[in-house]
Subunit: 296 residues, 4 copies
């Protein structure tokens, strides 16, 4: 069984100045980040601009990632599309490329129709079709819908659904699921803003934007919690919140990319309509990064 | 200049029982609906399951539609994607296929980043790249975001942005835009549930799911309003609301498709995760259609 | 049976500079506004700062209003509280003071518990206890909840529930209710921003903040619609939208009060925490009023 | 300086079968709960049906509570009203009755006007007028608005604002405030559903509906965390979630009251429009309580 107990950066997809996919830049980022004790990598999550890539480009990313990620680290591939058939097609492509698991965002465009039964048929069809474990992905800030505890529990019963990533931050919901789900079901925090609180209700790790720019600190937070050193875990948790806010809720993907550029990784532009940070915001971001002493 | 003053059905995309695209069925629907005094057709809107088709399939639909739609009716093509580059690519493909205008849903996955300036750069880039007029599409129930009056007004200033479709139903917003936008800017109601109210604040027509199943009644409502016969317009408006609710807000695309099957057009299945109506709901739907006397 | 077919200003409650109730100022406003062909007045709605007055003050307002409102105009009294018992108490006090009807905002603090059955027991208990007709009041922007068409229809069946005021602006909902409710059930638009659209789906009048500052224009809009002059009705509707936005959604009660001061009525301060407009906003407001030529 | 580091039950207000206030029942509940190592009591919070009591009744509750609460336990009094003047009046009455602190829900009816500056003037005026410390109360599920981190931080700077209770459950926000607020500012979890996660980002205690029915377990959870026994704290946290959901989000005040009746405290009816639980729901609730082994 797959073990998700650790920290995963959701790798941004790299583009050159013409917004063309730049797989070599992504590969270089993976290589540099592999120096840290990460559990693995996610490609093509929200920070990976999943919705901005064509199917061909997605498969190209899966293949590049499998080559670049060393065997002792897990490769999770984002494959959630709006239709069940597209999601299955991408899931198969990711498995074929060698991914260890897929992360499947729920379909959300027809929100009003996404009742539990529709979600069940969708997730079960994908999980049935997949040769590798499936991790559900709940991301209300982007999808505009929030899968509730009862729905997620129902879905967790499928033998090939190994866990979930929750980016909504409702730790009471995570706790309710932890209490009632099968023991081997694994919960991942979707943001470094609440990794320690999520672990305090049973999450085993996290897929954290901040792990792209502060991997050592995210890993230290995870280890401190697991070692029972709550004082240290809490201190690291509070310290990272301003940085994490800056590269997620507040300024999002372009801030994460600017921060990566700042620390010596490749950030580059996002695809439009995502704009680069304006100069004032960028200065504010760099100050937050400096205050956090991110480079050390 | 394009004249949008009339009724457009947003044509569902037709699939066979294996969920494969069935262009002949769509063509047949277009041919049957062309007997009515419609202003034209929209392909690949929300009812056309835009988000469920691959790029290749989308282009196939554009080409089929242009062949099937007779020259005196307009062809509007939905081309909105999450990235500016994909939207431009689809817009060019639609224009090449012979569409008269494109309907562009705003990008919405990165809601928090879709500030007015980002929307402006997106819409202006697409409008600049397009050889045919662009109609903006605001669909808060599906996109999870609502473009406000000030933003829409700013966008309306581009010379190649000819109008907007608003499915949110905020008629005060439509009125505010009508009052301040350039005179040639055209507002389309996005639902038969508020066509007459929208026209009372200056909308010139509508793209109406109900026009797929009750084209005569939608056209009569539009004509009654324009003829100054408010009593008749209001009566038709109130009469259609239950039917319209059934095939939009309440049960959505699968109800629209079931209604099309019922009246002798091709409905067929939606792509999953959209499920067909269960038997009880379908019975309720048919009763609503019968009460409305839809077949006459 | 009470006839609500006309325009009602929701009178602001007047306070002196120390925020003490100033009934004489309200009376003077009523007297001045009585020169217009209004159907009546509402006291203690949202613009009347219902939630800012003590029970004693509310009863004082009811009594003042009855004295000031001439017999051929209706007096509607806002009496909605969070508990059924408080609402009944205020309803009885309003009836005793001589009100012609009560306007009852739904309880909303315990949103999660306000299921249809709870609302039914609440409204039916108040309607049973009331010797004068009850008008329901739906105000989602302030209450944070939105009573839906099915609930409102169920409530409309009580013989002493005469109508509803809807400030949410969902005209499709108003139409759905108009279509199915008992014929004598009366729908009032809750904002001048959508009076004409609401009338086009069967509303018979409106309780309009703007009627405090532009009574002649609101009345003219109502009359034009009823006379079948849609061109004039639409023109008046579009013209008033910027003014109406300014004194409702955009800047609210303090803008309405500032506008009343500007045109020679008494506005004065709202009770805190509502702050007066800052100087820049006030200048912007006055410009909007001047552009509308409000004083003529 | 007041020390809030512990567990507080938000005491329901007790009513007899005619919905009249029953202070003796509340007193009896306080006396029974005083056997536990609680830090104190809150009267007239959301579970205390603050919005259902008249001002006279509120003062009666403050006075009863001070008599009943033994001196080594803190008495916190809910005093938040919609107007600043009412809030100050109630705050003074609570202080006069002997409360140790006041809990002030933000005004929320005029949501659109409750910008940071309005909230600042409101809270600072109340804090200035109060002779006892003020605790802010953020309760988005009921108020329909959510005070953000920046606003709460600005408000936390007032010397007489001692802390905040957050019932929204956004632990990343609590952490952001903990990181930046003055050291003596105290954060209280507003629900037993996330007490341990909240403490992991610096909360010092909680005002927990569940502490009315499971005081020993809530206290044990708090102590385990403070003793560094995270395994035990997490276990207690997960165990209490189903019970806590039942008496808060899912079924609310009537479920809390039914649970109190079940364990030998006085629950009784809530004031209408809050309905008692129906028989099926009550049976489900009792099963949840039994599964939790609440009576031991």
């Amino acid at each position: 069984m797959i073990k998700l107990n650790g920290i995963f950066p959701p790798l941004p997809s790299s583009f050159d100045q013409d917004e063309n996919l730049a797989p070599d830049k992504m590969r270089s980022n993976i290589e540099k980040l592999s120096a840290f004790d990460l559990r693995g990598f996610l490609v093509l999550g929200s920070n990976g601009e999943l919705v901005h890539l064509s199917d061909t480009e997605k498969i190209q990313v899966y293949e590049m990632a499998r080559e670049a990620i060393i065997p002792d680290k897990l490769m999770i591939a984002g494959t959630g599309g709006q239709s069940t058939r597209e999601t299955i097609m991408l899931t198969r492509a990711a498995a074929k490329a060698g991914a260890d698991a897929v992360l499947v965002l729920n379909p959300f465009y027809y929100k009003g129709l996404m009742k539990p039964e529709a979600l069940k048929q969708h997730y079960f069809a994908v999980a049935d079709a997949s040769t590798i474990p499936l991790i559900m992905y709940n991301m209300p800030a982007n999808s505009g819908m929030d899968m509730d505890a009862d729905t997620l529990l129902m879905l967790s019963e499928h033998p090939n659904i190994a866990g979930m990533k929750d980016s909504g931050g409702d730790v009471a919901k995570m706790g309710a699921i932890r209490k009632r789900a099968k023991p081997e079901f694994q919960i991942l925090a979707g943001s470094a803003g609440f990794l320690v609180p999520a672990m305090s209700v049973g999450a085993c790790g996290g897929i954290l934007a901040s792990a792209n720019i502060a991997p050592a600190q995210c890993i230290a937070m995870h280890k401190a919690f697991n070692a029972g050193d709550m004082a240290e875990a809490s201190r690291l948790q509070l310290d990272i919140i301003p940085v994490n806010n800056a590269v997620t809720k507040k300024w999002g993907v372009p801030a994460l990319k600017a921060a990566m550029d700042y620390i010596g990784l490749y950030g580059g532009p996002a695809r439009k309509p995502i704009l680069p940070l304006d100069a004032a915001t960028k200065a504010e971001l760099l100050k937050i990064l400096d205050d956090y002493n991110i480079i050390s």
